[in-house]
Symmetry: C2
Subunit: 682 residues, 2 copies
């Protein structure tokens, strides 16, 4: 068998034969066989076709029968695909410019689109050489990410007083050995470390540092910088090198979101955020929400998703470092803050039981890991602290948020909401912490909404309707041509449509279906937000009855979550001292309109507080301070998780909240008041 | 540049680009380029010749200009080369059967040999296709290793009472999670471990076990075997798997000698030595003694020597496991006992400063290392305990010896000697431990002796001379045809020649040079031990005046070591309660004759005790018991190292001891008595 030929001693001893040896595309041997040396057998093994993606003219050879979504992924082109190739979201629209394909018929494409040779990437198999054009709306665009600018990073300064990183650095001038002082090099370093105040009693050292030690200490006249990684109950000597005054010790805080990833590069001496970068989590090609990601990891292997997240982070840190004249090797401290599924997948840890009752994660409190062992680009010995997550659906990002807001140290009863796919909520103060996930669904992130999209360029984020004509006026992200509606836009639209009388309190259209703004799509009524002709596309931007229904379910889930969590301890909204909104989405949220649709409770407006990307902020704090890292563990351990999935109380509250703003109108006095004062109603 | 083509992402992320990426012979890419796909450019890169080694007909292609010793090493043929290719030992004799070579003239080959096309491998460069015959005496043969048989291993039973391995195993039946009990998988395992008596407070876990955890615990109804590696001040969860009642947890004790390596496979439940194997340390091709090995590591890189030692150990463990129906993966505990240089080189740690004043090793006390990180074939998480060594020239093998003999717990004043290249000695009892290395040189192992050899097949190990004719009668190892003299044979010969009047007390020949047993070699007198014609070779087995001188220097160094160490604390030989001889060499030593030549002191014979291979015995003890591992560290830390290299007291004692038996004859009353009673003297 040909395979055996290459299983030389090195291959057999290979640490990761799954990556390097088994003729996978990632194996260098495979790479050469396929691309360079073995082109003769290539043809006979499997029939391949060339696919050219326009407008960027990216060409790739793909085996017959592969679908176009996979082909795009292989070509590193990020195509919108909320449903991870199940053919249900209809977002992966491509235009077939030349060639013939084998495509499954779908109702998600309009007749006009079909006439214009639109196809769904995930429903189309490659059986010919193809030229494919990727329409503007299908390509993932630059994401608008909260908490990235100078303002946001300046807010962080002063949050941490005493710096205490995982990797501590000591500058030592060793006494050279003599015939009277013949202790080993390692003992010598330890002796000086002890004098410098380092606890060496529980210190071990890895094989790497043992191998570099002898040369390093003698290279520059016994002057060295020594790095010691603090772990939970022990420490490890991880690096010994000559002193380079120009080198900074850097830290990296990572907000590992399901949708987007944000990276901060921090100066570990001053605490200053030196640079930042953010991008889509490239796992998005495997589905919008954590469930789709887990399903994908089960079908296609965790390694695929692990690599996607790793490459996004590694690219972001590269981008953030580029302007600093520092290299990855100077990153010696890393904190990862993400939901439980995201951190499992990043570490290559099985997440499949998170989606199955009773929703068990593999790990909740992670040990300090070395960056080199998980593939993060940094000093190989860099300490990685993963924010602990109390439950399968309440993760380290929420713990980060609590750490940042600091309400766990405070007497005030606080309700915190991270609006996202899961809608995680926390209720508590310095005496208790309760948490739950509302399974709000991806509607606020554009998932399952016909023209929904994330807060990318061209997303409609602010809307008002004319009281008479219902003519919309809107703003888009970066003021680009409108491509769809993002979460804050949908809340505005729902609120406006309700307050202006387009919708009834049950969320059903109550205006004349023949109104020029109304149309029918897939047998249901839809409101036209923008006409295709105005934005030079084939399709109007519409908001359908189903979209409204999805959005109402999402908002109802979150409100029901608040209600049930308060009820658990015999309280109600009036007792809440502050309500904190976190997450990127919150930044563009119009609190008043969110109350109008019944997403947020009708309490005094001054109690609402927007805290930005608290996940990255908490990660930043944990990066600099061991006290914060220990606090994070304490927060996670002290959180009581309330499971809603089988709670009848939650189901009742959820049903009651599926109304505008709520079936119990007394809960929303100010909304009801302005609704009946509104000229368009009646 | 072509190189860049292959530096794909995987190559860049490669853990060891030195091995895998840089077109070294060991890189799989290089392998393919050279051997499979790129044969066209092969020729042009460098001219190669084929070398065929007889009698085994091993053929290898070697670049022009390589010397034959390197060529043999590449072909995995172990050729004697005491001096590591410096051209000074004359042991790497080969016969040129066909082809022309470029060889440096040498006086180490006799005229007869030169006529018969003998060449020295290390002095001969390849400039042609060659056929080379390796003479019997040049090939390394099976070594006679002490402490390997059933007797030796049975002695070990009962030495350790309470077993306490590094990797402890727990069999757990986990309670499955419920909606009321939703802790993470890791927390669940920890909870049950705690119930089973494991201290989980300081327990961490590696990424490997985090990745396997979820599947493992669910695979067989929540029943698992959990392995926990105990480190110095913490522990690590290293393995979780379903229960396999047939699998044994094994341990491996390794005596990592400069000359030979011994491996024991031990049942960690019963303490039984299940099997054993031993072989040459394949590093021997890089020189006989530690100095040559260090020099080689500096010239050719530590990796070369590291791989040689690793492959010897891995082959031995494979051999030892073959009869047990167990695999490497069941080895979960490893103890390495070796001198300081050997363990440094095995771990790939720089040893260069061990040979330079003030003789500093990189590490003396090693942390627990995982087998997978250093390339030992075993469970990747197997704990490796390296016996600590107090000094550059007194290593863990000596600490093992003390641990085994147990004299550090005993009131009796004990002197311990490990006769070998270094001649390490220890003096002490339960109150103090002093140690020194005598730099005895490699004479007792055959180094620097014209016909010297190790105790391999055909080595003359016992000799008596006829009182009248000086006709020798001898025994060889395994009763094979004589090929040379090993250490015990040399001591016998020196003693016999002295007592029978062949040598004076100054070690000079005092018989008629015309005696039929006398000859001249390289301008000096030599005693013929066996004539070439009797053993069917080209050369007589001789013992030259220089050989005698070397041997006398070696024995003088050891005796001087004893003297100075005793003087340091104001004692003399009469106060010594017991004298322990360890090491393979000691097994064949005739104590009486060793006293006759002044190697051992003239004290009551019942005080001498031979303890066999105490290095492997101590390793065995440390394998089973944490108390023994801690004792080893204590022993190493409490040893006072006395450096002889610049001691004038040592030089004086050394000079005085260069006499047969000693210049101060009153120190050897029994020898002097029998000498003057001997009929041959006068």
């Amino acid at each position: 068998m040909k395979h055996n030929i290459y299983l030389c001693e090195e291959c057999l001893a290979c640490r990761d034969p799954d990556i390097y040896c088994k003729f996978r595309p990632s194996c260098p041997i495979h790479f050469m066989t396929k691309k360079g040396f073995d082109s003769e057998t290539q043809e006979s093994v499997s029939k391949e076709f060339s696919v050219t993606f326009l407008p960027d003219d990216i060409r790739i050879n793909i085996p017959k029968g592969t679908n176009l979504l996979e082909a795009a992924q292989k070509a590193d082109i990020y195509v919108n695909a909320s449903c991870n190739g199940q053919g249900s979201c209809g977002k992966c629209r491509l235009i077939l410019e030349s060639g013939t394909v084998d495509t499954i018929p779908t109702s998600l494409l309009s007749d006009t689109e079909k006439e214009n040779r639109y196809i769904l990437a995930c429903q189309t198999k490659i059986t010919d050489n193809l030229v494919i054009r990727i329409p503007e709306e299908t390509l993932e665009k630059k994401l608008k990410t909260a908490g990235m600018g100078e303002n946001a990073t300046q807010k962080l300064a002063g949050l941490v007083q005493a710096f205490d990183p995982m990797v501590k650095k000591y500058t030592l001038k060793l006494e050279p050995p003599t015939m009277e002082d013949t202790v080993s090099d390692l003992e010598r370093v330890k002796r000086h470390l002890k004098q410098a105040g380092c606890d060496t009693l529980k210190m071990s050292s890895g094989i790497r540092v043992m191998r570099q030690l002898t040369q390093s200490i003698r290279q520059d006249n016994w002057k060295v910088t020594v790095s010691v990684l603090q772990k939970k109950c022990s420490s490890e000597l991880v690096d010994v090198r000559t002193i380079h005054p120009d080198e900074k010790s850097l830290g990296m805080a990572v907000d590992l979101g399901t949708t987007s990833i944000v990276v901060y590069i921090v100066d570990m001496q001053t605490g200053e955020v030196l640079s930042a970068a953010s991008d889509h989590n490239s796992q998005a090609a495997c589905g919008d929400d954590v469930i789709n990601r887990i399903v994908c990891s089960e079908k296609e292997g965790i390694k695929k998703l692990q690599k996607m997240a790793l490459s996004t982070i590694n690219n972001l840190s590269q981008r953030a470092l580029a302007c600093l004249a520092q290299t990855h090797k100077n990153i010696e401290n890393i904190v990862i803050s993400g939901n439980t599924t995201m951190v499992h997948l990043l570490l290559g840890i099985d997440a499949r039981y998170i989606r199955r009752e009773p929703y068990i994660p593999t790990i909740s409190e992670f040990p300090i890991i070395k960056a080199g062992t998980i593939g993060l680009k940094a000093a190989p010995y860099a300490g990685v602290f993963v924010m602990p997550g109390p439950a399968g659906y309440v993760g380290g990002d929420i713990v980060s948020g609590i750490l940042y807001t600091g309400f766990h140290n405070n007497n005030d009863l606080t309700l915190i909401i991270d609006v996202g796919t899961n809608g995680e909520i926390v209720l508590g103060n310095n005496e208790f912490l309760m948490t739950a996930a509302c399974s709000a669904g991806p509607a606020f992130e554009g998932g399952g909404i016909r023209c929904g999209m994330r807060a990318e360029e061209g997303a409609i984020e602010k809307i008002t309707l004319d009281t008479e004509t219902f003519e919309p006026r809107y703003l888009t992200v970066e003021n680009k041509t409108a491509r769809g509606i993002c979460g804050s836009g949908m809340i505005d639209l729902l609120s406006e449509m309700h307050m202006k009388g387009v919708l009834g309190q049950d969320g059903r259209f109550r205006i004349n279906p023949a109104h020029p703004r109304m149309t029918v799509f897939n047998d249901e009524l839809a409101f036209i937000l923008e006409f295709a002709k105005n934005i030079d596309t084939e399709e109007d931007i519409i908001f359908t009855q189903s979209d409204i229904r999805s959005l109402m379910l999402s908002k109802a889930a979150i409100y029901a979550g608040f209600t049930v969590l308060l009820e658990e301890i015999g309280m109600d909204f009036s007792m809440v001292d502050q309500m904190i909104i976190t997450g990127g989405f919150g930044q563009y949220l119009d609190i008043e309109k969110a109350i109008t649709i019944g997403l947020l409770p009708d309490i005094q407006r001054e109690k609402f507080k927007y805290m930005g990307n608290s996940s990255i902020a908490g990660a930043y704090m944990a990066l600099l301070s061991n006290t914060c890292r220990q606090q994070a563990i304490q927060i996670s351990n002290s959180m009581t998780y309330v499971d809603f999935s089988s709670s009848t109380r939650f189901m009742e509250a959820f049903t009651k909240a599926q109304f505008l703003p709520h079936t119990e109108s007394k809960l929303f006095p100010s909304v009801i008041r302005s609704y009946f004062n509104s000229p368009s109603v009646n």
